[in-house]
Amino acid sequence: MRSAIHLASAALALAALAFGAVPSAVAADTPNPPADAKAFRDFFTQKFPKVKLEDFVNGPYSMNEDLHRQWEEKEQFPPYEFSVDMGKEMFSKPFKNGKSYADCFPNQGIGIRQNYPYFDEKEGKVITLELALNRCREVNGEPPFSFLKDEMAALTAYMAFTSRGKPFDIKIPDDPRALEAYQNGKRYFYTRRGQLNFSCATCHVQSPGERIRAEVLAPALGILNAMPIYRSEWSGMGTISRRFTTCNTQIRGVPLNPQDDEYRDLEYYLSYVSNGLPISGPGARP
């Protein structure tokens, strides 16, 4: 344990000092999602005027020319092809009880990814695509998959593929619990955590386009549109759950369980503020 105690608290103290108060406008107390979404989009379009709005979904590849060329090279025959085919095959194979995923989703699960996550007013919580898929399995007497990769990545890859080009269309119903879930997701997004004391915003709002060692940071606008992703780093597929939990670990924060409320709300917030941007999943990433 090389990191001595003064090190940790010193780093923390200095981080707190450095983030001195910015004379920011008084944030309205009741959250105003439409205004947030507009401010969110304007922040990134003004920060990167040369990037077309729909290109933000390409993450680091919209930030760096050398990376963009490597991406185009991979997109000719992308490594996630196998995952999409596997997902398509799983969609066509019925469960033991004869039903299949198509029976659990509107429009047989085709071309609907852009509507997820949605707020379920009966349950009073956010339902993500990954959660809905595992619930569909459990309702039909099948064991749930890991939320992180392999089968779950294949299913979400296929569903995303069938929605390519459709703009994110996340709704916040007139229900105080929905507003609270949205606000909870926003709070998580901006809250600094882990010994490195980073929040999602530290990297994806303050420093998109900059490098963190070898990787160029993606802008937060449209950051979920390409999910699930085949990352060279993982040399395999990963879902939104895998990305959230590995991000936590990288900044030395203990990740929560995949699909815990915080992550569901975070996905709700991030998808909502990217409304209007096209689904581009599944994606390839460094």
Binding site: D66, R69, Q70, P79, I212, R213, R252
Partner: protein, 163 residues
């Protein structure tokens, strides 16, 4: 990627050649199964894939040393997005190309890929290779009985902010 010596502990092999405890025996060099679809002279270049330096690999492949040539165009990134998947491609205007090979000087096994180009096939290849760390990527072209090469450094570092 951690690098250690390979130990010969692989599961039972189809055909085991009586090979001494060569350090890199882990490369699984079973006697190449001469099955129908492999033409006679397309034998897998075992020794070249055991070479420790690019000079040895090139000698094992072509029996000659390579001379630099600007007629061999190597397209590789400045900074690899990730060492596991580095898209590199080559094209050349040299006539009568018979073979093209890709080498990475800092990889544990320097030779990465070697292609045989029969007559009528264009001397231009794209592929995705692994790089252990920042290194020179060398592409070698055998044309008209002579061997040419070009080199480009590709930077590779670990991503993410730290475990």
């Amino acid at each position: 990627m951690d690098r250690t010596d390979t130990r010969f502990s692989a599961p039972r092999r189809l055909i085991l050649q009586g090979i001494g405890a060569v350090a890199l025996v882990g490369l699984g060099n079973i006697a190449f199964v001469s099955s129908a679809f492999a033409a006679a002279n397309d034998k897998y270049p075992e020794d070249a894939f055991k070479a420790k330096t690019e000079a040895d690999a090139i000698k094992a492949l072509y029996g000659k040393t390579a001379e630099a040539s600007d007629k061999v165009k190597l397209d590789a990134p400045e900074i690899a997005e990730n060492g596991a998947v580095v898209p590199v491609s080559v094209t050349t205007t040299l006539p009568d190309v018979t073979s093209i090979s890709f080498l990475v000087s800092e990889n544990p096994v320097v030779l990465v890929a070697s292609y045989k180009i029969p007559a009528g096939t264009m001397p231009s290849i794209a592929n995705r290779i692994k790089m252990a760390k920042t290194s020179n990527v060398i592409v070698v072209v055998e044309a008209g009985g002579k061997v040419y090469s070009t080199t480009k450094e590709v930077k590779v570092t670990v991503g993410g902010c730290g475990g």
